[in-house]
């Protein structure tokens, strides 16, 4: 019988990795809702964000906020270039062809990251010291709070964006019906570009805040993308509240599984969960998929 402290510790770890999955899943759902395809390069933005911040902050001594901002900007620019060159709506790629294109982009990013930043996993120091916070007997890394906070702020900003701004409402319209949105004069090309750029920025943000907790390695991107996809499927692909809930759920389930079932097969369990989910609830745990 595991004791309560251990359980709480595992839950805290689960919510931390869950927040990261949620950020990636948000990007996944954003691109899928507007463009109708899966972006397997989503995890590469996470890696790029982390690696650039590390290179600027640890390597060149650039102040952390500046380094982080630069990393987000680079990721967004790379995302925009990729989207414009290969994935913009006027190309009318089939979802399958788009998937293969993003897979190719993931390879290019992975190879580029290896050449620029090397093969060794790299670390970033914690934003506010290594001393953990103690809540009762449970030790929580302060970085976990940064991660959860980032997710909270990002979700709130997205929510405001969708509710209050023209661009946000136009994006929701495109997600519901691309043809209908075009009929009322919404420029699908701009919205698709905006959704892709936003998801690249979200990915980079996730990479920056998670870097102090896990080493960042050039070849982690695809695994992260798949985790984000699993989270998005759990919440119902294309749904934004679903992406957050799905991410947190996946993080919890994975860490509880690793603690109480098997840590060696942690990833395998998550993938198995995905297969079972697609089998029994293809619309996600919380609702129906959009497309």
């Amino acid at each position: 019988m595991p004791d309560l402290t251990q359980f709480a510790q595992v839950v805290a770890a689960g919510l931390t990795s869950g927040s990261i999955y949620a950020l990636v899943a948000l990007g996944f759902s954003l691109v899928f809702a507007v463009g109708g395809f899966l972006n397997l390069a989503q995890g590469e933005f996470v890696i790029i964000g982390g690696l650039i911040t590390i290179a600027l902050f640890e390597g060149l001594g650039v102040p952390l906020p500046l380094a982080a901002a630069a990393a987000v900007v680079v990721a967004v620019v790379l995302g925009v270039v990729l989207q414009q060159l290969t994935l913009s709506p006027e190309r009318q790629l089939s979802p399958d062809a788009a998937l293969i294109v993003t897979l190719g982009a993931a390879f290019v990013a992975r190879g580029g990251a290896m050449i620029m930043f090397g093969k060794d996993p790299q670390a970033l120091s914690s934003f506010s010291g290594e001393r953990p916070l103690h809540v009762g007997n449970v030790a929580i890394a302060t970085q976990s709070l940064w991660i959860a906070g980032t997710l909270a702020v990002a979700s709130a900003a997205l929510w405001l964006f969708f509710k209050k701004t023209y661009a946000g409402k136009a994006m929701m319209a495109c997600a519901q019906s691309p043809t209908g949105a075009r009929l009322v004069g919404i420029n699908l090309r701009h919205i698709a570009l905006l959704s892709f750029a936003t998801s690249a920025g979200l990915g980079a943000l996730a990479g920056i805040v998670v870097a102090p907790l896990t080493f960042v390695s050039y070849d982690d991107g695809l695994a992260i993308a798949i985790k984000g996809f699993i989270a998005a499927v759990i919440g119902g692909l294309g749904s934004f509240p679903g992406a957050v809930a799905g991410g947190l759920f996946l993080g919890l389930a994975e860490n509880l599984g690793a603690a109480f079932i098997s840590s060696q097969y942690k990833d395998a369990l998550a993938f198995l969960g995905l297969l079972l989910l697609l089998l029994f609830r293809p619309g996600g745990l919380f609702g129906a998929a959009r497309r």
Binding site: F37, L38, T86, R91, L93, S94, P95, D96, A97, L99, I100, V101, L103, G104, A105, A106, F107, V108, A109, R110, G111, G112, M114, I115, L222, A223, I226, F229, I230, Q264, Y265, D267, A268, F271, L272, L274, L275, L278, L279, F280, P282, R291
Partner: protein, 332 residues
């Protein structure tokens, strides 16, 4: 299409050329160390034919096909280790791959195409971590060695030359079967499903069952190829059946051409040449793979075979309508 018999004649000509090429290549490279690499090419052809049929006929993608290949290889190695005759082990390994595909496919193929792509990716990763982690069965990352050569009813395929005939004989059979399937009623039903699922369903085609059949068949080909692979190289390890090999198989299928089963032969030949090409690229190998993936899906959706077809179609039109300025009808 002009005349119903014509595609059949072209297929027969291509099969004859293929058979002749197998014999001539053997005569040229007999005794050369390359014959072993060519045998590998035959084995890859079998697996890639499955992928070409899956993607070309039904529009599905498998991102984890090396896992089916690996299941075939490991099942064969383990059963032969348990004193099964190689042929029986090979059949069982093929069946196991097929059953796994059916188990994955039944729930998923009612959904849209991308779901299968991601699910096969997940399946590939699960298989990889099991091959690595289940040490009592697979011996883990260090792999299994001493796999005996293939044999049928007392005849042992003892050397690379014998493996060459085994692999290319099987590959010829698979390409022939694929070409027949392509022109059959079922193949045309699959094409209809690829073009428009709702229209196909309206024509009383069972969409889910059609997709399941082709997915199971492609896994069977991969498992069969994996089994022969284990007997050919005598040593297998998880790293050969991971994510990168899966992508290499898909890349070979796309590059060779998914518009005809013959594309698989070109793809397999590219795949065995690949180590020699990419060794000079060193660290740029991954980037090169990525760029090729992007370019092929954007600009050459039918691969090498498609380009060759285009050249022939162009030559035929040029012969038929001499003089410039004649309006060219789109091919097929």
């Amino acid at each position: 299409m002009s005349g119903a018999r014509k595609p059949e004649r072209i297929t027969h000509v291509l099969l004859a050329v293929f058979a002749a090429a197998i014999v001539i290549a053997f005569a040229v490279f007999k005794g050369h160390y390359l014959i072993s690499a060519f045998a590998l090419g035959g084995i890859y052809t079998i697996a890639i034919v499955g992928l070409v049929l899956l993607t070309g006929l039904s529009g599905q993608y498998s991102l984890g096909h090396a896992a089916f290949f690996g299941v075939g290889a490991y099942a064969s190695a383990l059963l032969v280790g348990a004193q099964w005759p190689p042929l029986a082990a090979c059949l069982a390994a093929t069946a196991l791959s097929t059953i796994l595909a059916v188990l994955i496919g039944i729930p998923l193929l009612r959904l849209r195409g991308y779901v299968l792509a991601v699910a096969t990716l997940a399946f590939g990763l699960i298989t990889f971590s099991l091959l690595n982690g289940w040490r009592s069965l697979t011996l883990g990352p260090s792999g299994m060695g001493n796999i005996p050569p293939f044999s049928i009813a007392g005849f042992t395929f003892a050397d690379d030359a014998a493996d060459y005939w085994l692999a290319w004989g099987a590959a010829f059979f698979c390409v022939w079967a694929g070409a027949n399937l392509w022109r059959s009623r079922m193949g045309q039903a699959m094409l209809a499903v690829k073009r428009d699922e709702q229209a196909a369903a309206a024509l009383a085609i069972n969409v889910a069952a059609t997709k399941l059949k082709i997915f199971a068949l492609s896994a069977a080909f991969a498992g069969f190829a994996g089994s022969i692979y284990a007997h050919h190289v005598h040593f297998i390890a998880p790293e050969r059946f991971g994510m990168i090999p899966s992508f290499e198989l898909l890349l070979a299928a796309l590059l060779g051409g998914i518009g005809t089963p013959f594309g698989a032969i070109l793809g397999a030949l590219l795949l065995i040449a690949l180590p020699d090409i990419v060794v000079s690229l060193r660290d740029y190998k991954v980037i090169a793979y990525g760029v090729v993936f992007i370019l092929v899906s954007l600009y050459f959706p039918h691969g090498l075979a498609g380009m060759i077809q285009d050249v022939f179609a162009w030559a035929r039109r040029a012969r038929r309508s001499p003089g410039p300025g004649t309006s060219a009808a789109p091919a097929s």
